[in-house]
Structures are given as C-alpha cells and as structure tokens.
C-alpha cells in the first residue's frame, strides 16, 4: 500500500541516488577544471 511514508522514503532514496550521481559528475568535472586552472595558474604566476 502506498502511503505518505513510503512516498517520502521513495523520494528520499531517489534524491539520494541522484545526489550520489551528481557527486561523481561534479567531482570528475571539478578535477578536470582544477587541472586546467592549475595549468593556467602555473603559466601565469
């Protein structure tokens, strides 16, 4: 039976999974951008 509690748990689980995926994506992008920034900083300063 679908109750408010199960809906909240489901939504929370989906959101948590999305957050995990976003974390991986963000970390990957951040690393790439950080490397580019480091190269620029190295070159400039």
């Amino acid at each position: 039976m679908i109750t408010l509690g199960t809906v909240c748990i489901g939504a929370g689980a989906v959101l948590a999974a999305a957050a995990v995926v976003c974390t991986f994506v963000f970390v990957s992008r951040d690393r790439k951008e950080q490397a580019q920034l480091n190269t620029y900083i190295e070159k400039t300063y």
Partner: protein, 804 residues
Amino acid sequence: MFQTGDVLNETYRIEEVLGAGGGGEVYKAYHLRIKTDVAVKRVKDDVKGKLDDRAEVDVLKNLRQTYLPRIYDFVSNETDVYTVMDFIPGQNLKQAAKQHGPFDQKQVLKWAVQLSEALAYLHAQKPAVIHSDIKPENIMLQPDGNICLIDFNVSLAFDENARKATGISVGYAPPEQYHSVGMYGYISRLQADRPAQGGVQAQGSGPIPQGGGQAHGSAQAQDDEQVSQRELLESGTVSAFTETAAASGTVSAFTETAAASGTVSAFTETAAASGTVSAFTETEDRPARQPKSGSEQPAGRQETPPGFLTSLTQLSEVDADTARLLDSTIGQGVDERSDVYSLGATLYFLLTGVKPSSHYWENRPIEQQKVPVSEGMAHIIDTCMQLDPARRYQNGGELHYALTHIRELDSRYKAHQRKRKGRIAALAAMYGAAAVLLVSGFALRRREISNTYSSAMLSAETLISEGSYDEAQELLSSQIASVPSRIDAYAKQIEVLYRSGDYEECIRYGREVINAPEYKVSTEADRKILADMYYLIGNAYYERDDYENASRVLELAIRYDPENSNYYRDIALCSAKSGNAEGALEYLDTAISKGLAEDSVSLIEGEILYEQGEYADAVEKFTRAIQITASDSVRSRAIALCAAAYRQLGPDYEEEEIRFLEQYRGTAGAGTVLTEQLAEVLASGGRAGEAAGLYEELVRGGNASFRTYENLALLLERDGRFDAAQEILEQMLELFPARYETYKRLAFLEAERQGALAQEERDYYKVKEYADLAEGLYGSSTEDTEMDRLRSLIEDLRRSEWLD
C-alpha cells in the same frame, strides 16, 4: 669623507666609495676582525644623539632576515655616525632594468614575494621599522637571483613619532611622505617649469632613458631624482608662511633652513621663531594663489611667490575628489603603508619600465600599460598605489599574504571557486533534502505501521469475540511478520488457540514464542501482556488436567504481574485440583487481598469444597456465584461445576438437580452438557419418555454426541419402539462408522425384535451378523461387559440351534 685605506674605528678599512645616497656617503669596507666585506654608510645627523638608547640599537642590530642586510654595528666619530652592514654584491634593480628592460610577471612576482617578506619582518618589529625609501636603486639583485632590500631609513627606527622622512624618491614616495610645503612647492616648481621642458614627453617601455624625465603625460623630475625637503625649501618657490606651517613637526630645522636660504620675510621669521600654528593660520586666511594666471599676486600677500599652490584643488587638471584626498594625505608622515606604496610603485616600474609620477593623478593603472600583467598582479599593484593609505595593504604582512595568495585574486580562480561552492551547496541541499525525506519517511512509516498494527489488534479482538478464529489467526500472523518486536500479536495468537479449545497447540506455540522471543518487553504494559500469555498457557495446562504445570506457569504469570488477583485465583484452583486444599486457601486469601471479586471467591471456594468431596457445600457456593456474578465465564463455569457436584450427590438431590438443570440448560456454552445430564437423570429416575424427548431434541439440534445417540436408541428399545431405535442406530453407523458399540446395540435390538416374534418366524442370522461386526471393531484394550453378554447370547442361540 673617507679615502680608500682609511680605517674607521680601528675595525673597518675603507676599500672604495660606493656612492652618495640621500642620507650620506656609502663605502665598501673590510671588517678587519671577521675578515669580510661590509658596507659603511653615514647616517642622518638626527641619529647622533640617539645611539645611547640601546633598545633601538639592539633592535636594528638583531634584525635577521634572508632578504635584509645584517647590521653589524653603529660607529661614531667626532663628526658623524655610521652604520656597518653586510656588503651585498650584485647590481641594483634599476641597473638590471636598464640592461634587461621590463621584466616578466613571474620574475617580478618572485622578487615581490621576497621584498614583502622582508617588509613584513621589518613592520613586525616593536617598534615597527619603516624603510621609507623603497625603490629599484635600493633593491640589490644578488648573483643567486634573489634580492636584498638595502638602505632603509635608520633614523626612523630611532624616532617612531617623527615619521617625517627627510628624503623623497620622486615617483616612489607616497603623498604622505612629503611635507606639505615641500609638495606644493615642488608641484608649483614643476608647473612653472612645464612650458620650458616643451610639454609632455612620450612614455616608453624598454630601458629608462638616462637623465631624461620619466613621463606619462607630465613634466617629471630627473631620473635620479632624490629630492630632499631642504632642496624644496631652497628652490625659491616656498614662501615664509608655508615654511612655518610645514615646520609644525620640525620647527627648528625649518627656521634654520629658511634663515640660511635668505628667503624668510620678517613676518615669517616672527612666525617661525614663535613656532606657533597661529602663524600658519593667519596665512591660510589669505586668498589662495591662482597658478593659471601665472603673474597675478593675491591682494595683500606680497611675500607669496608667483605660481605657488596652497591646495591641489587649484589645479584644474586634478579632479576635485583626488585633489581633496591628496590635500588631506600630504604631510601626514610615513608609516608601514608608505612602504607598501613604494613597493607597489617599484613593481610597477619593474613590469612596465615606466616610472610612476609624483603627479599622482597622472599615473595610469597598470592594466592600461601595454604589458602582459595578470589580474591578480594588477590588483595588488593598484591596491599598493592607492592614494588613500587606508585603502592600501596596511603593512608588509598583508602585502606578503596577498602576493603568496595571488591566484585567489584571479577572476578565473574566483569563478572556479564560485562554481565549486555552488556545486557543493547544490549537493549539500540534495543530500540534506534526501536525508530529511528519508528520516521523515521512516518516521511516518513507523507511525503508519504502528497504527495499522493497533487497528489489526482491534480487528483481531472482534474476530475472536465472533468466534472467527481462523481469520483472527491469519490476521495476527501477518502482524507478527510485519512487526515482530511487538508482543501484542503473540499474546492474541495464544488467546485464539486457547479460546478455540486447541490447548495442545496453545501450549506448544506459547512455549516456542516465550523460549525464543523476538518481541521486546520494554514497558509495564508489555510486562502485563507477557503475564497474560503465561496465564493462558497455564489455563491450557489446566484444561488438560495437568495441574502441576498449570501451577508452575501461573507462578510465572504472577512474577510479571503480581497484582492480578485472577492469577492467584487460578493457582488456588490448581492447588485444589491437586488435592492441596491448604495451599489453595492460601492462594485464595492472596487473591482476595489483591481484590478478587466476590463471585470469583465463591466459585473458587466451591471448587475447593468440590475437590474435598464437600459436594453439598460446593453446590451452595456455586449457586451463590451464579446469582451474584455478572461475568459470563464465571457463570458458565459455576453452572458446569454445580451440575457436576449435583451428579456426585446422588438420588437424594435428584429433584433439586432436575430443577437446576432445567433452569440452566439454556445457558450458552453449557446447554448440551446440561441437557444430556438432565436426560440421564430423568432416565435413571424412571422418566424415560421425557429423557427420550430430550435426546431427540439434541439429535435434531445437531449437538448430539455418540453417547446421546446410544442412550436414545436404548430408551427407544426399552420402550418397545424398535423401528425408531433401528433408525437411530443406522444414523449412528453413518456418523460413527468405527464404533463397535453401534453393532453391539443393533445385535441386541435384533435379538429383542426376533424374541418378540413367534418361534417359527424367528431368524437370528442378523444377530450373528451384527455380533461379528461388533467383534471385528471391538479392540482388546477396552473391557465391555456387554460384549461378554453378547457372546453369551450368541452361544445360547447356537446351543438352542437357532444358529449354526
């Protein structure tokens, strides 16, 4: 002045003259004791009297920093004072810039970090040591590529209150370093000289031209311009009253100079001699000079020379805000921020090849110079060169921090940081929201499960009261699976088994659940429920006549709920049944002290009397219980027990028993048993017809036991109603096919029937047939005298040759 070979203080042999700075001559010398090259520099006259103050001397001599020369000593002779410090080989940055041109940012940044480190060190001293003359000429480039900051103004270290540096390095000195007189006089002179110099010189990158002015839109001083305040005074453009005003901190020096220069008017002499600000104030009231006209004289100010400024607001090329800012800053005296300005100006020069102007309003931001400079560096230099000291880095430490964290000023870095922070915030929001949803979801779910469980318990209660035990069990099993930690459903399950009469399963399940509990007993209510579980199991043992186990389990119930009088009541019953009347009465007393109701007390007393064989007294107690109780369970139990007691009493109480049974045989639950008992009493009392009627009633109602059928058949047979008896016995064959008694009764009935016929009509073969069938079902474990009688009958029939 020393010559080569001279020995100072018997320690320092002069090797060569290095130069003449704003403060005095500088010599390269040889330290005869420690055998190393040193630099000897004549310091300002105002230091002379202060060498006795050891604290300041020690501060300077104890300065140890990688990018500062070490000060070895202060030496004085009759006329002068000299500092002795490390000799730094190499060329200064001005010389290096002349050879190399502007330097790239990486190189300049490296030097800037070193310079700021040295500056931070100086500013951190107590009191702070202000260099006050930072410029490329005073920065040595050592052979290892590192710099050394030399030639700081020792005199300032001796008097932190006299922050009026006596030397001005044009372009590198901040506005506050000027004496106001000197500044205005200087600018006035430059303004006057401007047309003679042929206007604006183009700015350039590349080597700094020798001897020419450094221009970016202004008439500038000479390259090597180190202008002293004295020079400004002697320039002839300074009026007497302004000398006095500027001399508010150094009156004596000013008046001496003014007097020496011969430019002091009578009025000024008086004002200077008095050393009072009022002289300045008087003068300030006079109308300001308009420099653009060049030749006008303000009315009543004959001593004010032509072209003289009293405020930068008088210059149309300076915007009003800048002019007011400079007016308020000029002459404030140097502090740590002045060094920051000078260092910024130095960096500006090193990067662009353009020397900053003392016409501060004409200095272009470094971003506008055609050199590759990063945002961070441009920001730092711009901050250093703010006209308002409050808007600069406040000391070398702050500047050093900015330089070592220069990347943080870069817009790309900032954008990356912003993006990262945004992502982190977004992730934190997502995780936070997920956590909130999960936590609240689980909390809601727990509440929902609890509500469902409670509803299910109520439904189970209803089903049990309706007798729907199978449905109740199914419902309870699902709740146990859903919430195994709660005890309620287990207790209800045991109750269902007890109420349905499945005492064996009740005991088995109860033991299984209690021995390996999955439920939690955490509250007082849970303890009571557990006690009830033991109570029901104990009663199940009681129903199976296992009074010993019943007592043991009921004791456990008392342990968890010692205030429940019913538990003591039932233990009293068990004791009575076990023949322990004394123990039974003790438990009964405890039950009464715990508040056992009067009806239950009567019931138990009756049971105890029954067990003691006091049937008449027991009947009295049971009757009382029946009369006063409002409980169905107590009533039905009392009725059943009373009937049993009557059965024991015998024929003397037959009428009373009949009345009792007739009154209560309609009671729910007890009807069948009491009706059967009544029929038996009537039959034994010779009222066979009435008895048969009751048995027929039971058969019609579908509540008849085997015994009922058998008794009815017997009564009908005795009454001569053979066909009716036959019919009943044939029903019994269908209902109880495994019972030998049916065939036995049929055999006797057939024998009766044949015996009633004439001899020639008799045929006993069926009697033999039924007897054989009875024998076939008759087990050897039972002893039935009627079977012996049947065998005798068959034998007699054989002997009589009725049978083969």
